[in-house]
């Protein structure tokens, strides 16, 4: 068998394009995935026209937000282009220089300030988007919605703060400035004290009863308005999420992305190589000669499985070593992910052997490999909760018949301690090696 394996490796070496692909492919994939994992999402470009008069601040609840702060809030999240007019901002969007424009109207400060007054007006900003890209619009919409939600929460918090100050004034009393004039507010507590003082001097039982009712009201109002403080705080942020995680800790997104990349590379390289290599034995008429007393069909199959395992594992190793330049790989867990990669390679090699033996032609084997691998791999990536229970069961059963999902689980678990358990997927892979190996052996009878 070793001579057959050596022969296959010699043939592989003789094909510079194939050999180059086997080395360059995992490196190229690692570069692409590595860059995408280490770079954040591209920032959208947004034109900003702030029509508020220079120096004007957004004041409410005793706190103020100036124009620069508004600008910083926006430009932290997107790339800003300053515009000098609504028309300029709109034309920047039309020309495609900006994905969207945010126009802050002249009276925004006034309207926000009115929220804390007796005649509140609804503050509005204008958002202009270019309708030519649905996907980009969706992204911009999401970002602007998020920014507005944040701004509204900030304003609501500050309004609540202002409300609490007014309530405190009503409760405790103090000075209040309105239209430049300072007014003294007595406050409920002081009112109650004054009424109690007056009541002690009143002799008329009817008058005394009326004063008693006024004192009861002041007492009740004081006690109940004390509750307004926490209520206003609650209104400004009615629901707070307290996230509690149960069950096994999920692997990091980076680990999952690495495992998906490695499994895809492993699958394509191994299945295509073994299927093509076995079909080539037939196309080059060597199979008949080999089996005419030189080696058994089982030995040929074992040689192909060995070839696929060695090359597939080498590809995973090159890929992970290249990815290590971008994201940390847990080399301490190498024995586990090496075992996972070896078993995955063996299972994919068995699939390739079954396909090569069944098709008996390199082209047909290649086509069958692609047509079989892609749907299984994509189905394996469908999250369990994304479909109904029936479809979920169907997908689970179907994907269990192909090595992609167990190989992915084994690699994810091998790469990160918080990943899924590795031993069950490894056992699953071993079973698939036996099943597909058996199918390949049966197909080789009529090869």
């Amino acid at each position: 068998m070793r001579w057959l394996l050596l022969k296959d490796l010699q043939i592989l070496r003789r094909s510079p394009v194939q050999l180059a692909l086997l080395i360059i492919y995992p490196i190229a994939i690692a570069l692409l995935v590595g860059f995408s994992l280490t770079r954040g999402p591209e920032q959208s470009t947004v034109a900003l026209y702030n029509a508020m008069p220079a120096g004007e601040t957004l004041g409410f609840g005793g706190e103020e937000l100036d124009g620069d702060e508004i600008r910083n809030q926006l430009c932290d999240r997107v790339e800003c282009i300053e515009a000098d007019s609504t028309e300029e901002a709109t034309s920047l969007v039309e020309s495609g220089d900006a994905t969207a424009a945010v126009i802050v109207p002249e009276d925004l400060g006034e309207k926000i300030a009115s929220l804390a007054g007796f005649n509140p007006q609804r503050p509005e900003i204008t958002v202009v988007v270019n309708g030519s890209s649905a996907v980009e619009n969706e992204i911009v919409d999401d970002r602007i919605d998020a920014m507005l939600a944040e701004a509204n929460q900030l304003i609501a918090g500050r309004l609540a703060e202002g409300g609490k100050q007014y309530l405190n004034l009503i409760l405790e009393g103090g000075d209040f400035t309105i239209v430049g004039q300072q007014i003294e507010i007595l406050g409920l507590k002081n009112t109650k004290a004054l009424l109690a003082e007056v009541q002690s001097e009143v002799r008329d039982p009817v008058q005394k009863e009326k004063l008693e009712r006024a004192i009861r009201f002041a007492t009740l109002a004081t006690e109940n308005l004390d509750l307004a403080d926490p209520i206003l705080t609650a209104i400004s942020q009615p629901v707070v999420a307290d996230k509690v995680e149960v069950g096994n800790e999920a692997p990091g997104l980076d680990t999952f992305a690495i495992a998906v990349t490695a499994t895809f590379a492993l699958m394509f390289v191994t299945v295509l190589l073994v299927a093509g290599s076995l079909a080539l034995e037939k196309e080059e008429n060597a199979f008949t000669r080999l089996t005419a007393g030189l080696v058994t069909r089982g030995q040929i199959l074992a040689g192909k499985l060995g070839l696929g395992t060695i090359v597939g594992f080498a590809v995973v190793l090159i890929l992970l070593a290249s990815l290590a330049a971008f994201v940390p790989i847990q080399w301490g867990r190498a024995p586990i992910w090496i075992l996972a990669a070896l078993l995955g390679a063996m299972a994919f090699a068995a699939v390739g052997a079954a396909l090569g033996a069944a098709t008996r032609e390199v082209r047909a084997a290649t086509l069958a490999a692609v047509m079989l691998c892609l749907p299984f791999a994509l189905l394996s990536l469908v999250p369990d909760d994304a479909v109904g229970p029936l479809i979920e069961t169907v997908i689970t059963v179907v994907t269990a018949a192909f090595p992609f999902r167990p190989a992915l689980d084994a690699l994810t678990g091998g790469l990160e301690i918080s990943g899924p358990s590795v031993w069950l997927p490894m056992l699953h892979l071993l079973i698939l090696v036996l099943i597909y190996g058996g199918l390949a052996r049966i197909a080789l009878r009529r090869f």
């Binding site: 022969k7 080059e284 060597a286 008949t288 000669r289 007393g293 030189l294």
Partner: protein, 244 residues
Amino acid sequence: MTEPRSTQALLASGIVKRFGDRVALGGIGFEAGPGEVVAVIGPNGAGKTTLLTILAGITEPDEGSVESSGGGVGWVPQQAALYRRLTVGENLLLFARLQGHDDPQAKVDQMLELTGLAERQGDQVGSLSGGNQQRINIAVGLMADPAVLLLDEPSVGLDPAQRARLWQFILGLVKTGTAVVFSTHDIQEAERYAERIFVVADGSGVFDGTATELREAVVTPAGPDGNGVDLETSFLAFLKKAGH
């Protein structure tokens, strides 16, 4: 395959092979002596290749037995069964190793000398001419020093010069005592190189003898110049007479 009881290099008897309901070979007997050259001829689908693959031990017969003398049988398929991306030397070395030779490199050197392709040993097989590929193909068949060499249409696709060189090579083997059995559609080739002709038709062995005996088996009209007719005409007349 067992040792023949006779002095024949190869002895097959009562060979039956069925593919489903179709009977490909219906009880054929065949023999070849040491150093003998036998041509197996017959129409397309007659069962020539099936017979040869059974004689080579590649296909199991449903009935009958095949026996060969020490050294066994070497098989040379119709199309070169070689790895095109490997060099001549690497191909020979691979098969020498698979044959289990104690000194595979010595065997390779011997085969390179035999084929006259020593200077091409570093060339990839895919870059060789059809004739040279066939020489390597035959050399691989000879790797085990077989008593009988079975060749399935060895000269297909070769030009006359390549064919002549190939036969020069094969006849050189015959001188060393190797029995050569080959199938062909080229009746002239059979007449020129074979000592004996074995005709297969519809899965049966319908003639076994020399070219002269085949001619004598049928009465055919004289040629345009008044001389005897060519073997191909006699062969066709024989098949017609035998109801094939």
